[in-house]
């Protein structure tokens, strides 16, 4: 018997053998998750959910007389030599069961159990006094089990359903995918995209243009008419994302800082000074203030320049053809220069250990037009048109799950008093050969 091999050649002519182990390993991993989810869920249901459900449905009501009050101590040996003790206030009740008088200590609710004896003692005072008659519920199958309260712990039910449910869903869908893919070549799997692939957790294949495999759909780029030319292109500003990131960081950091500061303030008012907490507050405050400053500076920079707008005479673009492009810049003040580029960028997403990384490379860039000493006025925005011609043998836009080749117009400006800015406007370029070879327009021009 030949054992499957782990490593094989990737390209050219080769035998493959690792697929057996890969499929078996993947199936075993997902099966383990599924089993873990089922076992964990079963334990939670049988150990926690079912008793609580019985308590609310099967336990019979009765009126009991309080005979005594006390603390229930429960000691559990966590590890050799370490004993974990909990305390709970309980009452001893006398209550009728099928005409016969029964006595039993009440079973404490989970919320009443505490590791602190003093707290339990304090809670004991909140229980009914001796001789008082109170409502209670007892288990008809074991009348010495009696409770003073009923109800559901919804947080526990959510935990019961959520965690095992996630494990079962993830493991089950993964196992289904593995079983469906068992013994199939990668071509056969790719040719038959079905339910298992749709359940894939990382399946992020973008929408593509019908008839043009790998070419991204451009519906979102042609749904906004321009003021002068046919289409106004949506902006994809990396600065906006960075600004949002700084804002969220500043918000989260300062929220933690406020919580710490309130705690320190309460200590101070109570006459206690926690020097460790105060020592931590200083660097926390410095970082928090720094985050706010960086965010406000970015916000001022983003809003001081004014909006940039790019319009194009036609879309999608095709190699070898010329297009009119309008650049409009709002705001006020002086721009030392304003440049319009057409760029081709490659983007590759890959895994490095447990991280997912994305690398970008600009592989073609053409300066379409440059304007110098641009005076911006709030009353009328700066507007200028330029003509761009795509190379005859330009690569078309391409988008697969992990690899992207994208075209975009890039506007770079250098304000007189502010740092330079860069704004990106994606476009889609179709293959040139497609229309010529087919003898028909591959995709109808969306405007003329």
């Amino acid at each position: 018997m030949r054992l499957p091999r782990f490593f094989e050649k990737k390209r050219g002519e080769r035998r493959t053998g690792s697929q057996v182990w890969a499929s078996a390993g993947e199936a075993a991993f997902y099966a383990a998750l599924l089993v873990a989810g089922l076992v964990f869920g079963g334990l939670l249901v049988s150990g926690v959910a079912v008793p609580e459900w019985r308590l609310n449905h099967d336990f019979l009501p009765a009126r009991g007389v309080v005979l005594a009050k006390g603390l229930q101590r429960r000691s559990v040996a966590d590890s050799p030599g370490v004993v974990h003790t909990t305390w709970a206030p309980v009452v001893r009740l006398r209550f009728p069961v099928d005409g016969v008088t029964s006595t039993a200590w009440s079973r404490p609710s989970a919320a009443a159990v505490t590791p602190d004896r003093e707290t339990a003692l304090a809670r004991l005072g909140g229980l009914p006094e001796v001789g008082e008659e109170i409502p209670c519920w007892y288990d008809p199958e074991a009348p010495d089990t009696v409770v003073l309260k009923r109800g559901y712990n919804w947080a526990m039910w959510l935990l019961t359903l959520l965690l095992p449910g996630a494990l079962v869903a993830f493991g089950g869908s993964g196992l289904l995918r593995s079983v469906r893919a068992w013994g199939k070549s990668e071509e056969r799997r790719a040719a038959a995209v079905g339910l298992p692939e749709k359940l894939a957790p990382l399946g992020q294949t973008p929408a593509e243009t019908p008839g043009f495999p790998g070419v991204p759909a451009c519906d979102d780029l042609v749904n906004s008419p321009g003021t002068i030319l046919s289409y106004r292109l949506p902006i994809e500003s990396p600065e906006s994302w960075a600004l949002l990131g700084f804002g969220l960081f500043a918000l989260a950091w300062n929220a933690v800082l406020v919580v710490l500061a309130v705690g320190a303030g309460l200590d101070l008012m109570g006459g206690r000074i926690d020097w460790l907490l105060f020592g931590l507050l200083v660097p926390f405050a410095v970082v928090g203030i720094g985050g706010v400053v960086v965010f406000i500076r970015g916000l001022i920079l983003a809003t001081s320049v004014g909006p940039t707008q790019v319009e194009v005479s036609n879309h999608p673009l095709r190699p070898g053809r010329s297009y009119e492009v309008l650049v409009a810049q709002g705001g006020s003040g002086m721009l030392r220069s304003l440049e319009l580029f057409l760029e081709l960028e490659e983007q590759a997403t890959f895994r490095q250990g447990t991280d997912t990384r994305t690398e970008r490379a600009v592989v073609w860039s053409q300066l379409i037009k440059q304007w110098r000493e641009v005076e911006l006025s709030p009353a009328a925005r700066f507007e200028a048109e330029a003509t761009v011609r795509l190379p005859e043998r330009a690569m078309h836009s391409f988008h697969s799950e992990h690899n992207v080749v994208s075209w975009r117009f890039v506007v770079r400006g250098v304000p007189d008093r502010w740092p330079a800015f860069c704004r990106v406007f994606p476009v889609v370029v179709f293959p040139a050969e497609a229309a010529a070879r087919a003898g028909r327009p591959a995709v109808e021009e969306m405007a003329g």
Binding site: R2, P4, K9, G12, E13, R14, R15, T16, V20, G183, S185, E186, E187, R188, A190, A191, G211, F212, P213, G214, V215, E339, F341, L344, E346, Q347, A348, T349, F350, R351, E359, A361, V362, V363, W364, S365, Q366, L367, I368, K369, Q370, V388, R389, R393, A394, M395, H396, F398, E401, H402, N403, V404, V405, F430, P431, E433, A434, R437, A438, A442
Partner: protein, 148 residues
Amino acid sequence: MTRNHDRGRSQPQVDMFFDHADRRYQPHDRLAVRYEMSGLGQDEVRALEHSIVWYTEGKGEEDLGVHSFQRITDEALLPPATMVGSFGTDLPASPLSYEGVIVKIRWCVRVRIFFVGGRDFVSEHVFDVGTIPPAQRVASRAVAVAEA
């Protein structure tokens, strides 16, 4: 073409003949290939798959797109009864073959032979779709002024 010299086993070989000797095609062209299998030895074949696919290479994870796929399980069409085969397809409009810096797109014809023991052997033959020139990383932002 790469060969795998694996001691103790048969050394399958698939010779592929394209209808364009230079293996260059344009979108929507008809692609036709003929192949000959040899070196299968005593290994029994249980299935054969023909496919025409594109895949990505480079820094990113590999993506695969299948344009045409056919699985043959009829014994009369499998070795040893039949050692040659042919198939073809009309190529799509995209994606075009691309030699980028960190993203590359390649087209290939694959013949995969499944043996009874559970192993398989795949033979891959690359061809080009379109005539996109290789890309180069742009060192500086401004390359050329398009208009005077």
